[in-house]
Subunit: 380 residues, 2 copies
């Protein structure tokens, strides 16, 4: 079975749809929490389930280093490994190599790098990256790309985009020859009664240059990926640039395939990207901010360590039905954070994810009802 | 209403009973997990509930320093503060001052000490300690004692025991005059239709000297506390000494009141203490060991960081029905621990608590069935 995506409703350029993966269905627009090393930091999987997480993002770079692709493969793939029997998406490792690893050396072949954990030497090429993603066995995997740094000259952005294009083709070709090596191949085929495969998405690059983005989009679309991502954003550029790139690139991507903007954004931004026709997003913001005591609420952003919460008996967000807001007070959350207690990170993360996921559910409903972005605030 | 304890069944010297506190009933023998600063590190309260935690221990010393007694009082007491609407027990702060605080100076009046957090100067006397415990509002509170260090000469142990005896009387007298100041006094009286008060337990000291323990027990029992604890154990003495003190002291404590051994022990030890007639125990072992990757299972103790678990698909403990053992593999738990992930601490703690609590449930059942300690292993 090849991956398919159906648009169910549109409202302006926004759309509500769904796609089915070997490990289940995902309703879009969807926000994907980041579970870097096969865990959303501090949150047990049953709670992710209760919160309505549909699909998790895992980082290939991290899992490749620890516990290693062969270990995850031997354990049946990352879904079994982390006991999350639902869809998972892996990035290609490209972005992580650029942002985390030491002593990178980029060539036509790929990227040599040293592990940020132990300094050991490794190489990611399009072929080895896709091999790793096949071994991990996520439901959706990403082509290996070079994430262009910001700022980049036009010349540099063009070279980088062209390298990404060549790597996209090599990623696609390697995948076509090896997709049956996914650890759950036989099991899922038996279960579904037909061949099941991972979906492979291509990534549009081109820096902040709209004509390069256009060229990258056209050349990526030609390769007939299952979906398309816009990469190379949230790399330090002004938000207007991010917006401009997304706004101009989305219309160049086929309507019958998911459109994924990588690494964004704030609650306001993710709503606005949906308005442009984006179907999928991921971001560390809700989980990372939570660990720093920054909490999103219907009344705005809160810094829970603020002394004004010391005796605040009220819930974190009176409008939020999540298990944190219905049980604990701001005073208690403030105490946990001030005391550097582990539970602070767990509860804060649960709430921030509930906020993002609830927001996306309301966005989806309002698209289906033809009322997006709606007269009232989507925050409440 | 005064605190009461009923013995429901005995089996040898072991007994199964129950007591009722303003925040609910507790079935004994009971193991109390330690929630130092009003949290069991890394475990949300709803999971503690699911695990069958009946009563939590909080540390007065820690809560006195952070967030402070007046804050907890203003928020309605520690049950409301931590959103745990079940029984809580607080220690007096004595042991914590002796083990954590800096620059202690002990006098007849009490203990001067400096906070381990910010070095600020404080004083605990029997009166101020009980005032703090009343302000926090736990269901069971402990008299202020001096925890005799190990080793201690007979002379030193006798002086210390006598000081504890005088402090016990002052604790009791202060409590009798002030028990109505507990933050939930009016609310619980209205709810129950009668005056509800905290239970106050006395503590037997005397070092490893059995005659001093006897004298301490007799003088403590005379003061008519609601229950009796054996303190000053697990301070570095050989396990034979601990056992000897408990074995000889328990028969000196009234049968119609709970007997509590503070700060013990391993799974084997807590079962053995029940055999001697102990009703209540608390220990940091299951929670602290969990955070260091040491897990208790029906097949013995496991160090989850061991490389042999890297590809072990099996559950941590095949005999354990806890939410960790029924969902995750040893390989995943090993990965989380090796990657220093927050979730390792949460899941490990959940399992170890489930192990201790399940063990105590089986102990209680076997006492009621007249089969304790039973022909088979209680571990399985």
């Amino acid at each position: 079975m090849s991956f398919s995506f159906q648009v169910e409703a549109t409202c302006g350029r926004a759309r509500a749809g769904r796609f089915i993966t070997p490990h289940g269905e995902v309703q879009t627009p969807v926000f994907m929490p980041v579970g870097t090393v096969a865990t959303v930091k501090g949150v047990p999987q049953d709670i992710l389930d209760q919160l309505g997480v549909q699909i998790l993002l895992n980082n290939t770079y991290h899992l490749y280093l620890r516990p290693g692709v062969e270990t995850v493969r031997a354990l049946g793939g990352v879904q079994k490994f982390m006991a999350w029997n639902k869809p998972i998406l892996t990035d290609s490792g490209g972005f992580q190599v650029f942002s985390l690893a030491d002593l990178r050396k980029i060539s036509e072949e790929g990227v040599q790098f040293r592990s940020h954990i132990d300094g050991s030497a490794h190489m990611f090429s399009p072929e080895s990256s896709i091999a790793a993603e096949i071994g991990l066995g996520a439901d959706i995997i990403m082509a290996f790309d070079e994430c262009t740094e910001y700022p980049a000259t036009r010349e540099r952005a063009q070279q980088s985009m062209e390298l990404t294009t060549r790597w996209a083709r090599r990623s696609r070709d390697y995948f076509a020859a090896h997709y049956r090596e996914v650890p759950w191949f036989a099991e899922q085929a038996a279960r579904h009664g037909s061949e099941q495969r991972q979906a492979l998405f291509g990534i549009v690059q081109g820096g902040m240059h709209l004509d390069l983005r256009r060229e990258s989009a056209e050349r990526t679309v030609e390769m007939d990926f299952d979906g398309h991502a816009i990469g190379g954003l949230s790399v330090g550029e002004p938000r207007e640039n991010t917006w401009e790139v997304v706004e101009s690139t989305i219309p160049l991507l086929p309507e019958n395939k998911p459109r994924y903007v990588m690494g964004v954004g704030t609650p306001e931004e993710i709503v606005n990207y949906v308005r442009l026709g984006v179907d999928m997003m991921d971001c560390v913001l809700p989980t990372r901010a939570a660990r720093h005591g920054l909490l999103f609420t219907s009344e705005g952003k809160i810094n829970i360590k603020n002394a004004r919460f010391v005796r605040d008996e009220g819930p974190l967000d009176p409008a939020c039905p999540c298990p944190v807001c219905t049980r604990y007070s701001r005073a208690y959350l403030r105490h946990l954070y001030a005391s550097q207690e582990l539970l602070a990170q767990t509860l804060n993360t649960i709430h921030n994810l509930a906020f993002y996921l609830g927001l996306m559910r309301r966005v989806r409903e309002s698209i289906i009802q033809g009322e997006f972005p709606g007269p009232g605030s989507l925050q409440a």
